[in-house]
Amino acid sequence: MNWNKKFLHYLNYNVPLTVILLILIGFLAISSAVEINQVDSNALVFMQKQAVSVILGLLLVFIIQAFDYRIFKEYSPIIYLLMLALLGITLFLGRTVAGGKRWLSIGPVNFQTAELAKIMLVLVLAAVIDNNSDDMGYLKGMFWPSVIAFIPFVLVILQNDLGTALVLFFIYFVMLFAGGGNIKYMAVVFGGGFLIIILIISAHLLIDTPLPFLHEYQLNRLIVFVNPDIDPYGSGYNIIQSKIALGSGRIFGRGLFSGTQNQLNFLPEKHTDFIFSVIGEEFGFFGSGIVILLFLFLIWQFLNIASDARDRYGYLVVIGITAMFLFHILENIGMTMGIMPITGIPLPFISYGGTFMLISLMAVGIVININLRKNKLMF
């Protein structure tokens, strides 16, 4: 197949290499977080599960290359309906784990459908914005993308998954901006919305009005985020422990398997949400800095691929995927450092968790697909 060779000519090798490096760092960090060094730990099960998702994900990357990415645009109405159906089914049939995300079980496989929704939203939104590109400077053009984004947003909120809802919103916001949305309108609508939310929360705190969309514990996390010392034993606990872990790593870290915050189980959810704290504790600023820079490098490559995309649809898709990763990175790393509120959002390629690993690699596959087809003359 000679077109393969032609394609490979355009491949930005930095993308797959950076991703693989991040995954390897993730394996190292997870193995420490699940205490693989202890005789009686069942760490191997975690490692095997993670390895399976990585292998499946890499397979997906290859499979995706077989199609031209514009097929997603063609099928975007179907993708959209499928997304709504998945979210709807999960809402009614899914089961929750520890009051958080909902899972859909198909046979022995458990899947967090909200994660898949992130990518599906990107693919659909890119199509809608592309189709409305001439009107994006007006309310008329911004209307349909907003409606399209709003429905899954509400379905995810109803699943009580605030974190994913925020990701969806961020994707929508960035894509609207990159797609030429009118900045004045955006400032008024979203600035106004933000003010209204602040008002609702203040009213709840001061005069005890009911709180729409937000659970008490989620509000607590927000309050504690603003001032963790309010409740050092309850919600503030995670923030304090994570900061101790990161800080105590100093420049070169305490060494693999030697972080006491990690090994003594003072870190919560350390193999998933707080994996970055483990990296910071055991590899110090050296390790956390490298991870942050690798992510910056990856995001930068994505943005370059976006600007080189052969059409506006490809550009928008890469922007949406970039937004997804950017939000995950900012929120997850920021949370472990105490500069973002705590939500259960995993760190791409590094956190333990099959669904998001698959989704992330699928997203990388799509970006590579767009990258490979950047030359307009080829077709």
Binding site: E281, F285, I292, L303, I319, L326
Partner: protein, 627 residues
């Protein structure tokens, strides 16, 4: 594209922010955080979580917790100029705790890390607590923490079912932690009964307090607290008052029989006794009593080796829950099974007539007769009367016919259909499955084939057949409900400390013979059991004469292979018309089933409210006296 540039700037800002925050925490404040997390400045002290409580079906607390104080050693809080030895010496000098005990306890614990709390003394005396508190500054690294001990409201009732707890051993520690639970050396875990069966529900999750200490090992401030989570509570199906009454009755009769046997060498001395009452419509276990038992308080603070050896070596085996953990030949109660097979396979009916000429049954080519318990021939009797009279001759004949018509395994198959020979899977540990012998078993274990005599023996519940009282209760349930039995359950539901439902034990049909065995067969068996109790020729007639509720039952006296005395059984159900409960009473080496019937009667007296329970809460039945 202008906007892309703007995006790139935003991305740069975000990453610079993350990087500078990392630098701020790790480079500029790294030393502070390192000190916080390092062993000599930070310590993780345990906060114990109480074990779940156990309630009876009326909501009465059976097992609770009381406050106690444990002494822990935190090695990492000991200042560098001191040592573990020095502090233990000081403590031994000041307090009543001996040096040897402290050093033993310190050495006995397998310590994973320097920062791990080591349990030195459980259940600290008040005097020692005061001494340790007063000398706080002399004893760095020693901390006193609240803990809980099991508090048994009635330490001598429902003993085996409740079960005891004890310090976790190395095997358990490894196994539980492999299964993903978090146990530490010195933890108390369930070792028997419900405490063991429901360990992972009852066990709470230990919390911890992370504190900052100064160089002298004095606490400066708390950095974080992981709240302990108390264990979940069990709510039983057991009616504790009925249980108490049943145990009292059982004990009274048991002791009387033992006393009489001491005076009269002819009489037999029972070793143990058991009583079991199960709700037929649900499988809920209302009473589960086993005698002799022990005092649960022996185990509350950790049992001493001498006490434990005394208990486990006692010839009367007080640690054994005889309702589930030991199996006995059922004797004539098994005739219900033989009867089922005979009616289903041989076409025997209620009015089929038999003849017992001279209380002896001869197998062809075998000169030694099989005898009836009654040395005089009983003449002509129909099938129902044969059950009521528990006439061995009739059942020998049926057993032999089953052997001739089919093979030696036919009767065993029916026994297995009734659940004999396999565990009921009641929610108690160490349940015995008993044994239903057949041709294959005999060849494998005794190296002999199955003889006609084996079938004849089996037909009256003798030979190698072994059953537990729970299995017998299940058998009675099947007959009484005409075809099905629910799996026996001690625990009704498990609730969180806040009262939320964690798990409900669903009613599950365990045995279902409604397809295989006809209603008529069950009705005939029930009629036979009714006559056992209500006809003047019935084997249990005397004790239930003019009883206000109609009872049905079956007696059993099983010979034991050794020179010991017979096991005695009574198994029945009531009321006859609309069966509610199955009742099983067993006297291990009790001699004669005649001794079991009054016990069963008294338990029913309490159940139906003819005798008042402690607070008069018995069920009140209204009935018309026929006389």
């Amino acid at each position: 594209m202008d906007r892309l540039k703007l995006l790139k700037i935003i991305v740069l800002v975000i990453f610079i922010m993350l990087l500078s925050r990392a630098a701020y925490l790790q480079i500029f404040n790294g030393d502070y955080f390192l000190e916080l997390s390092e062993g000599n400045r930070i310590s993780v002290r345990p906060i114990n979580a109480p074990r779940g409580k156990i309630y009876d079906s009326r909501g009465e607390v059976i097992v609770s917790n009381r406050l106690t104080y444990n002494l822990y050693l935190m090695q990492n809080e000991i200042p560098p100029d001191s040592s573990v030895e020095e502090i233990l010496m000081k403590l031994a000098k000041l307090s009543s705790i001996s040096k040897d005990r402290l050093i033993d306890n310190f050495n006995n614990k397998e310590i994973k890390s320097y920062a791990e709390p080591i349990l030195l003394v459980r259940h600290l005396s008040k005097e020692d607590m005061v001494i340790i508190a007063e000398n706080n500054d002399l004893l760095p690294g020693l901390i006193v923490k609240e803990s809980s001990l099991r508090d048994y409201i009635h330490p001598e009732t429902l003993v085996h079912t409740t079960g005891y707890i004890g310090e976790i051993n190395l095997d358990e520690l490894k196994k539980f932690n492999n299964e993903g639970y978090d146990y530490k050396p010195g933890d108390f875990v369930g070792k028997g009964g419900l405490e063991k069966e429901y360990e992972f529900y009852l066990d709470g999750i230990q919390g911890a307090e992370q504190i900052e200490v100064d160089s002298r090992g004095v606490k400066i401030k708390t950095l974080g607290i992981k709240k302990p989570e108390p264990g979940d509570n069990l709510i039983l199906n057991i009616d504790f008052q009925l249980q108490q009454a049943a145990e009292k009755t059982l004990m009274k009769n048991y002791e009387e029989l033992r006393l009489k046997a001491k005076e009269d060498e002819e009489r037999s001395m029972p070793i143990g006794a058991a009583a079991f009452v199960m709700d037929i419509d649900t499988g809920k276990v209302i009473v589960s009593a086993s005698i002799p038992d022990y005092n649960l308080n022996l185990f509350a603070e950790g049992i001493s080796t001498e006490d434990y050896l005394d208990l486990s070596r006692s010839l009367l085996k007080p640690m054994l829950n005889r309702t589930v953990m030991s199996a006995f030949p059922p004797g004539s109660i098994f005739k219900l099974v033989t009867g089922t097979a005979a009616m289903e396979e041989l076409g025997v009916r209620a009015d089929t007539s038999f003849y017992d000429a001279n209380a002896a049954f001869y197998l062809p080519n075998w000169s030694i007769p099989f005898r009836n318990w009654n040395p005089v021939g009983e003449g002509k009797l129909n099938f129902v009367k044969a059950i009521a009279r528990s006439n061995n001759i009739v059942f020998y004949e049926l057993g032999y016919d089953l052997y001739r018509e089919f093979n030696g395994d036919k009767l065993s198959e029916y026994a297995k259909k009734y659940g004999l020979g396999s565990r009921t899977n009641i929610d108690l540990p160490s349940e015995k499955s008993g044994l239903v012998p057949n041709d294959k078993w005999k060849r494998e274990n005794l190296n002999q084939g199955w003889y006609p005599g084996d079938s004849v023996n089996l037909s009256i519940g003798q030979g190698s057949l072994l059953t537990t009282p729970v299995q017998i209760a299940q058998l009675i349930s099947v007959v009484a409900s005409e075809g099905k039995s629910y799996q026996p359950k001690i625990v009704d539901r498990i609730v969180s400390p806040e009262g939320d439902l964690i798990k409900e034990n669903k009613q599950e049909i365990n045995i279902d013979l409604r397809e295989e065995v006809s209603e008529k067969t069950f009705k005939t068996l029930k009629q036979g059991m009714y006559d056992v109790v209500n006809k003047n020729y019935g084997t249990a007639y005397r004790h239930f004469r003019d009883y206000p509720v109609d009872i049905a039952g079956k007696t059993g006296t099983a010979q034991t292979s050794v020179a010991l005395n017979n096991h005695a059984w009574f198994a029945g159900f009531a009321p006859f018309e609309d069966p509610e409960i199955a009742v099983v009473v067993l006297l291990e080496n009790g001699g004669s089933s005649a001794y079991t019937v009054p016990i069963a009667r008294e338990i029913m007296d309490y159940y139906f409210g003819f005798k008042n329970l402690n607070n008069g809460a018995g069920k009140v039945y209204y009935y018309d006296n026929e006389d």
